[in-house]
Subunit: 253 residues, 2 copies
Amino acid sequence: MKVVLIGSGNVATHLGGALKTAGHDILQVWSRDADHASALAGILSAASTDNVCDLSDAGDIYILSVADDAIADMASKFPFQDKLLVHTSGTTELDAIKSGSAQTGVFYPLQTFSKQKAVDFRNIPIVVEGSSEAISSLLLSIASDISDKAEIVNSERRKVLHLAAVFACNFSNHLYAIADKILAEQQLNFDLIRPLIAETAAKAQIYPPSQVQTGPAARKDFGTMERHLLYLESKQEWHKIYQVLSESIVNNM
Amino acid sequence: MKVVLIGSGNVATHLGGALKTAGHDILQVWSRDADHASALAGILSAASTDNVCDLSDAGDIYILSVADDAIADMASKFPFQDKLLVHTSGTTELDAIKSGSAQTGVFYPLQTFSKQKAVDFRNIPIVVEGSSEAISSLLLSIASDISDKAEIVNSERRKVLHLAAVFACNFSNHLYAIADKILAEQQLNFDLIRPLIAETAAKAQIYPPSQVQTGPAARKDFGTMERHLLYLESKQEWHKIYQVLSESIVNNM
């Protein structure tokens, strides 16, 4: 397939790389920032542009991978009525891009990407949806080229999937960041709890997480919880997070 | 060393196993539940008892590994004034066991243990503290027998370490559990986000977590956050958690 990437962020970068490795042809990269477009285009041996009017009309699929709140606007500027236009957002409905083309789809990889770190796409679930059954099948086939875990999931359920991912991934990472700051204040190294973070995630690969919950709240050890809250008294934000999460754990034990 | 385990929970089980593997001799296991005591004693080729008065006086070190709020009480019942008594709690001061013996210490492995899952102790940081410098050194040497990451850390800083671990590990696991439930309500499989959980923890092994924060709150994508909160409206507890953590992420970007 001839692929045009509209966007040059983390998702576009990793997805473009995986599609190229799987034998697809990346024709062109668009970014509103010409330097970003040409940087990614260089890696993928593609052309680049910062002007939507210059998008190549030779693409078989146009992958719109921009910030969620820019998707609808970019789709409305898409210059081809009959070209397959897909977005990569977990939380945006398929209909959000229907102003762009009659043929639309969603191609959502369930992974957190950062530019710095390579990822193995084969283990990344990709959920797809098409504006027709034929498009759904085509997207499923492209997704299967790069992932062993491709699945058709409609817009409503995909949004729930994304919400669950926010809890499990974005929120957990923020808790790691808070732990890092708590340690730094006492000149303790984050390395001390890195194995704990790895083990907690490793357990979740095997067990239902609610069955392996540990810690003061799980033990209803109110003495320890009170001492922790006392220590956090001057840090309103962390105090609140500790309280809300501990209460929720206690309620579920 | 001749080791007596006072307690038969997850920490006692894994610590006892690691010490035995390292060549130490587990003499005896105490538990208030005679069956639990003899079950663990069986694994460790040790004697067992459910009576503190029957604790062997032949031990070199007595490892008190019970629920945090039972530590002081158990220590007060410890029958030997001159035997080395250590607890394994991240959050309990060394002084909490001084009624038990003149020779006390802390031996705190920074890991989350569940009975079902084997762990590699060599990568688990163990922080130790003794009531004298000689005891600190002895405990550091025992900890080094089973771990490559043994360190002397005093009570005050150890409590902060434990607090950070609660954020990074216990709270993260609870977020995984919530994600699991959110998915289950829509008949979506938790397997879909397991790779995401693994990748998030893997990134934290390499990068400072605040530098790799992603998601709607990190992007200040208030439209997505509002839609998520709307979806969670009937789930007060999850709604609150989403709100508090998103606010905290937004404040830190």
